[in-house]
């Protein structure tokens, strides 16, 4: 039983890796994409309240959001594309002026 479960796990893990790799070829966009902010706002509301309360964008500055969103991308297993959209939204809607 143990071995069977272990094998199931390994299979899922490997499949995930295989499936995940082509997705990593997300291209960088050169131009401003206003839709990114709209996607980001939605993704923020849907993903960032799953484990704890949503913190207001104005709670942190750009630098702090940058670290925390990457921290959460790891902890919550978020796709990079989703984390980037959320980051764009948070940077745009906090009070940080650069």
């Amino acid at each position: 039983m143990t071995k069977k479960l272990a094998r199931t796990f390994l299979t899922i893990g490997l499949m995930s890796l295989i499936l995940a790799s082509p997705l990593s070829a997300q291209q960088d966009t050169e131009n401003a994409d206003p839709m990114q902010l709209a996607r980001g706002a939605k993704a923020w509301a849907e993903n960032c309240a799953r484990c704890h309360n949503l913190r207001s964008p104005s709670d942190l500055d750009d630098e702090e959001w940058h670290v925390s969103v990457i921290h959460m991308r790891i902890r919550a297993n978020l796709p990079k594309a989703t984390a980037d959209d959320i980051m764009a939204f948070l940077h745009a809607s906090n009070r940080d002026q650069k």
């Binding site: 899922i12 704890h52 940058h66 925390s68 297993n77 594309a81 809607s93």
Partner: protein
């Protein structure tokens, strides 16, 4: 639920997930670039989208190999390397009404340090500084190096919180936990492993397949660690730097999210455990430990509903010399000093589950005070067997709580916990709990 059934369910679930993954493989890479976004009114954004986009030129910077090769991995206005202090603090009072009337105060400060280099490397560590009975204890909760090797895959080395189940990795900080205490069996000395030292690969496989499942995904965290150890204090489920046998522990958690607010997770951990003496000899291999777990969460708008189940056991403890007493870490509120502890019988089982529901009243009221209130109910059970002391801890636990949120990460928490011990000789207890928490 029997293990056989469980492994079948796990098998079926993974087969289904994989079928979903392949079925939707064709549309996988298409993100929502041209999809209509259903949100028209973006909270906190008080400027036109175009202006905001210019303020935030953040369009998926280069990661992994690209960033390592010198391409910038941070938004233009941010430095490549950033460090950040976060963490949480909590203080509380617990008053017990039962056989022995008891009360204690807790104070805990957990600073977390994050060092980020571009979007490639993150080092994160958290300390746990605790005061109990006038003594201050400092412990390293975790200390890990995260390498964001691919967009959706991260490798982790070091001491990390166990990815088994939900509570430890995601819910235990005071400002996240909806109640002042951990569910029975999920705290220190519980069934849920606390931390591991080893290696982890974790990530996500997006399965976007059109509305309403455009954010469906499978996430995974697979680990190899030094595993649990059979010590003088029973089986110990915290990360150890020296491995006591050549067989590492192996396991992890795989979860399926059809939509972001609904998650089903499956956990497994397997390891061989040996006694503390005579390292490295074949005869020392005295037991086989394994754990299976299932969890489910629904977290939408004002609701936060969770269920978590863990079932672990040790089989084949044949060597008489190594039938170690099982008090301490495995038994919450351990009974009596270790010397008086009883031996484990050849086999031991530990099982715990809880179901919890919280509802934030902002869902029904705009009132300036009422909207910050959050009633919580949790029911949990701990069942263990192997010797009398393990069995004595068996408990049904009901906790009712009310939180007042001062800020998204600061709250006052009040709760009443009814502890119904299964042992007829052990008196039931009622604990009044009060806690102040702040996450920063």
């Amino acid at each position: 639920m029997t293990r056989k059934m469980f492994s079948r369910i796990l098998g079926a679930a993974s087969a289904l997930s994989l079928a979903w993954a392949f079925g939707t493989g064709a549309v996988l890479a298409q993100t929502t670039e041209n999809d209509p976004v259903s949100i028209t009114n973006i909270p906190f954004l008080d400027m036109p989208l175009e202006t905001a986009s210019e303020k935030s030129p953040y369009y998926g910077p280069v990661t992994g190999a690209g960033a390592a090769a010198g391409q910038n991995g941070s938004p233009k206005h941010l430095p490549d390397s950033i460090w950040h202090l976060a963490g949480y603090a909590q203080a509380g009072a617990f008053i017990t009404n039962g056989d022995k009337n008891d009360s204690f105060m807790e104070g805990k400060f957990s600073p977390g340090f994050h060092f980020l280099y571009k979007e490639v490397i993150m080092f994160e560590a958290e300390l746990e500084i605790e005061t109990e009975d006038g003594e201050t204890k400092v412990a390293l909760e975790y200390s890990q190096l995260d390498w964001l090797v691919l967009d959706n895959t991260t490798l982790i080395f070091g001491k990390f919180l166990s990815p088994i189940g939900l509570f430890r990795e995601r819910l235990h900080p005071g400002w996240i936990n909806k109640l002042p205490s951990a569910p029975v069996g999920f705290g220190h000395g519980g069934v849920q492993p606390l931390s591991e030292i080893g290696f982890q690969v974790r990530g996500v496989m997006p399965l976007s397949s059109g509305e309403p499942f455009e954010s469906a995904r499978i996430t995974y965290a697979l680990m190899v660690g030094n595993g649990p150890r059979l010590g003088h204090g029973g089986i110990e489920l915290e990360g150890f730097s020296d491995d006591d046998n050549r067989n590492k522990s192996f396991g992890g958690r795989v979860a399926f999210l059809p939509v972001p607010y609904l998650e089903f997770g499956f956990s497994y951990l397997g390891a061989n455990v040996v006694g503390p003496e005579d390292h490295d000899t074949e005869e020392n291999l005295v037991g086989n430990y394994d754990l299976i777990g299932f969890d489910a969460s629904y977290t939408r708008s004002s609701f936060d509903i969770r269920f978590e189940f863990l079932d672990s056991r040790i089989r084949g403890l044949e060597d008489e010399d190594h039938l170690i007493a099982a008090v301490g870490r495995l038994v919450p509120l351990s009974v009596g000093p270790e010397e008086e502890a009883e031996l484990l019988e050849t086999n031991a089982d530990w099982r715990a589950w809880y179901a919890q529901a919280a509802y934030r009243l902002d869902g029904i009221s705009d009132h300036r005070i009422i909207k910050n209130l959050e009633p919580v109910i949790r029911y949990g059970r701990l069942r263990q067997s192997g010797n009398h002391e393990l069995e004595e801890a068996n408990e049904n636990q009901l906790t009712l709580g009310l939180n007042y949120w001062l800020a998204p990460s600061a709250a006052l928490k009040l709760a009443v916990q009814l502890r119904d011990f299964r042992d007829p000789d052990r008196a039931d207890e009622t604990i009044f709990q009060f806690q102040v928490v702040y996450g920063f």
